[in-house]
């Protein structure tokens, strides 16, 4: 595994009595697309703000590009791109003025790349930002975060409220970075559909706590959907089931559950012990989306807004 480009240890953030983020410990390896998933209000934006030194952690530490987040300076920030859902842009500027304004801050600014992005995004250089649609504004923000070819791109809910075409352009734009020798994309979202095939690492946060942080490959290795017919004597699900069985359901004699620690021998042994006389189970691999939904139901959060 590549060395982490983001690494947090016991990160906490309190607002008055509210613990917005609790004991967050995770690492993002360089060269990955890390999807930071959770419902609205889970603590994603607070975490990102702490990573980028926009907000101080109450306790705990974060290291970005090897540097403690609380001392991140121009040198590091010039290698980090950041686009957020609620980004405020200087609305009175034109797209071109915004570009001219940003360029001097970044030694690695690539004019040709910037031109290419403007063209691909169909951005009118001389239109004022305040006269642009939301999608256009987000694309303008992305251009000024990509043009210096950052080593790390941080995106906070970048797709919310974008129409499918703009979303598509946005994804193509961010994938331009894959041409570089070093790139990492950290992307927060409440919607798994947006990142399903893009992410090779996933972190799931809910109510300020991180429930997992691991490669999608390992998630797909350990999660399985299990379905079988219970014997006629089984009238309801046993009171105690293994803790690693998620969302068990029974309808008629049909039983379905999600095994989150799949090891064939052990899973089968558990099934035989708890459901004697049941049919041979159908055990199927799951997509990232199905895994996320099973987790979401387990944590009792929905992919809708909690607020």
């Amino acid at each position: 595994m590549n060395p982490p480009i983001i690494e947090t240890r016991g990160l906490n953030r309190r607002f008055g009595r509210t613990e917005a983020v609790r004991e967050l410990t995770f690492a993002v390896p360089e060269g990955s697309i890390y999807a930071f998933l959770g419902p609205n209000g889970a603590g994603k934006t607070t975490t990102i703000k702490m990573l980028l030194n926009i907000m101080q952690p109450t306790t705990g530490t974060a290291r970005i590009l090897g540097v403690d987040s609380t001392v991140l300076g121009p040198r590091e920030l010039a290698q980090i791109g950041y686009v957020s859902e609620n980004q405020e842009l200087p609305e009175w500027m034109t797209v071109q003025q915004l570009i001219d304004y940003c360029k001097p801050m970044y030694p690695t600014w690539d004019d040709a790349f910037c031109e290419k992005l403007l063209k691909n995004f169909n951005l009118p250089p001389h239109r004022k930002l305040k006269n642009l649609s939301r999608g256009m504004k987000v694309k303008a923000a992305l251009v000024t975060s990509l043009a210096y070819r950052p080593r790390l791109l941080v995106l906070d809910e970048p797709f919310s409220g974008l129409d499918p075409l703009v979303r598509d352009e946005f994804i193509r734009g961010m994938l331009e970075l894959s041409e570089q020798s070093a790139w990492t994309i950290f992307i927060s979202s409440h919607d798994i559909d947006e990142v399903e095939r893009l992410a090779d690492w996933v972190g799931v946060i809910n109510d300020g706590q991180l429930h997992l942080s691991e490669p999608t490959e390992s998630l797909q290795t350990r999660f399985r959907q299990v379905e079988f017919t219970a014997s006629p004597e089984t009238t309801r699900l046993p009171a105690t089931l293994p803790a690693n069985w998620l969302v068990p359901e029974m309808a008629g004699q049909n039983v379905r559950l999600v095994e989150s620690q799949f090891r064939e021998g052990e899973t089968l042994a558990d099934l035989q012990r708890l459901f004697p006389g049941g049919s041979d189970p159908v055990i199927s691999p799951m997509t990232l989306r199905e895994i996320f939904l099973a987790l979401a139901r387990t944590f009792r959060f929905t992919t809708e807004s909690k607020a």
């Binding site: 994938l175 894959s178 691999p285």
Partner: protein, 125 residues
């Protein structure tokens, strides 16, 4: 646009589907020796997949000799992608399985399926 046809389905790994689609395109002649093959960036952008997945697929295809690296040009379809009859028939495997499953659902027997295949075959030749 990509020089081969692929429609990603959920349920099986993207990398496997991609290797299959490229192999099929080369063996069936849709892509020919010397044709330029899309870069990691293009593959990931066109399919909205992780660039590391695209990279893995290209590396695997180079390993199989289906693609070759040409310094200064990029990746091209290899010199010797001649398929053995076995490889060709293997490529039909997935489609055949689908056909058999559908036929069984409809309670057809193997004779019905063979006749239907023959009819289609003659229509197209």
């Amino acid at each position: 646009m990509l020089p081969f046809r692929i429609e990603l389905k959920t349920g099986s790994p993207v990398s496997e589907q991609l290797v299959y689609a490229v192999t099929k395109a080369v063996i069936s002649g849709l892509m020919r020796t010397g044709d330029k093959f899309p870069s990691v960036r293009t593959l990931s952008q066109e399919l909205r997949i992780n660039p590391n997945t695209a990279h893995k697929v290209i590396t695997a295809l180079i390993g199989q000799g289906l693609l070759e690296v040409r310094p200064g040009i990029g990746t091209i379809v290899g010199k010797n992608p001649k398929a053995t009859p076995q490889q060709r028939s293997e490529l039909l495997g997935e489609d055949l399985e689908h056909l058999v499953v559908e036929a069984k659902k409809l309670r057809l027997d193997v004779g019905d399926v063979t006749r239907a295949v023959e009819q289609h075959w003659n229509k197209l030749s």
